[in-house]
Symmetry: C2
Subunit: 216 residues, 2 copies
């Protein structure tokens, strides 16, 4: 039932297509803002439409339900963040540093865009999409590190869940302004240590400057 005009169309976007895209974008932006500010449940579809400066009925031209907006939002923003992360880690070899960068990158992203941060934190990390996208990537790193003999953990599954939870907790605290400047490195250091990197080295790795984004 979806429309899906293929993006491979030759013709430049007609005005109607632009209009449609803009309205959709306004709705998404409004939803993102409101979800982040007040949480998912308390936000009504009226709120979203109102904040997007569009009529209530228009909402239903684009999304069937509130959950659908949420899914769309998540898909968009998560994919974006993951490619950014990849660009940052492209030239890094050491798995330990990769893990450190991943955690610090996400903390930085949350810090630069509080709205996105609150969205991520309030929307229950359990949310399938986050689970699949992030955790899969994190588990990949962890396995690689173990196979390379770089990490040493008692139970990889536990290590994965614990590190995810720790990241979530630190994000949340950072958003509430509870943490002082160096928190990203401090957190990364803790993660590396719990993965079995010796203390001095963990500290050193976690404090290396965060690589710039490499060209797309």
């Amino acid at each position: 039932m979806h429309h899906h005009r293929m993006t491979t169309d030759e013709h430049p976007p007609t005005r109607n297509q632009r209009r449609r895209a803009e309205t959709r974008a306004r709705l998404l932006a409004a939803a993102r803002k409101l979800f982040a500010a007040q949480g998912f449940e308390p936000t009504t579809i009226r709120d979203i439409a109102g904040d997007a400066d569009t009529a209530l009925g228009s909402f239903y031209n684009y999304f069937r339900t509130k959950d659908e907006v949420l899914a769309a939002l998540m898909e968009e923003t998560l994919a974006e963040q993951l490619t950014l992360l990849e660009r940052r880690r492209r030239h890094v070899d050491d798995v330990a540093e990769c893990v450190s960068i991943a955690h610090r990158h996400l903390l930085a992203a949350v810090n630069e865009d509080n709205e996105w941060g609150w969205l991520l934190v309030r929307l229950d990390v359990t949310h399938e999409i986050i689970e699949h996208v992030f955790m899969a990537s994190a588990m990949g790193d962890l396995r690689k590190g173990i196979e390379a003999g770089r990490f040493d953990v008692a139970n990889p599954d536990v290590a994965l869940q614990a590190s995810g939870g720790a990241l979530h907790g630190v994000m949340h605290a950072a958003l509430r302004g509870l943490l002082s400047a160096d928190y990203d490195s401090a957190h990364a250091e803790g993660i590396l240590r719990s993965f079995g990197i010796a203390q001095a080295e963990a500290r050193e790795i976690a404090r290396r400057p965060l690589p710039e984004l490499s060209s797309p």
Copy 2:
């Protein structure tokens, strides 16, 4: 406006008092079950009354609002768990072992009573009561360990939030049946390591048998 018949009354509880207490207990049990199963918001007062096999109106004889039930539930169960924890740690001197015991005790509690576990996990660890009760206790341990030169962390606030988040993540995973047998020790080991305990020692401490509850 509350009734608060003093418990110091000499007379044994009259039948009416028992009836009252039982209804209240049924409501609390129902709320606990439903909150754990479907979460707080989706649960309606009707649901609770229905599950407690009591009329809708009766709910309001005991609680003004849904939040009030939640508060009552939390107060009850958290206080109970904290005293249990104290009884377990009473004769332990080493701060590191105290921390290990705290984490493992809570994981054990969640494992023994899934309903309580889901309640704790679904109800957003941010919830003030949990925050104040648990985090305060955890921060106490952490400080003590640092002052004793036993722990070495880059940033205590970060360490606190990270460890709380990690515990939350592991609890959640355990409840979903994602973890295999030794997960409590594995988690405790990770926490100790991140607090700066050397690997071998962390492993040893985390694997010590959990002390029995000392007499009340």
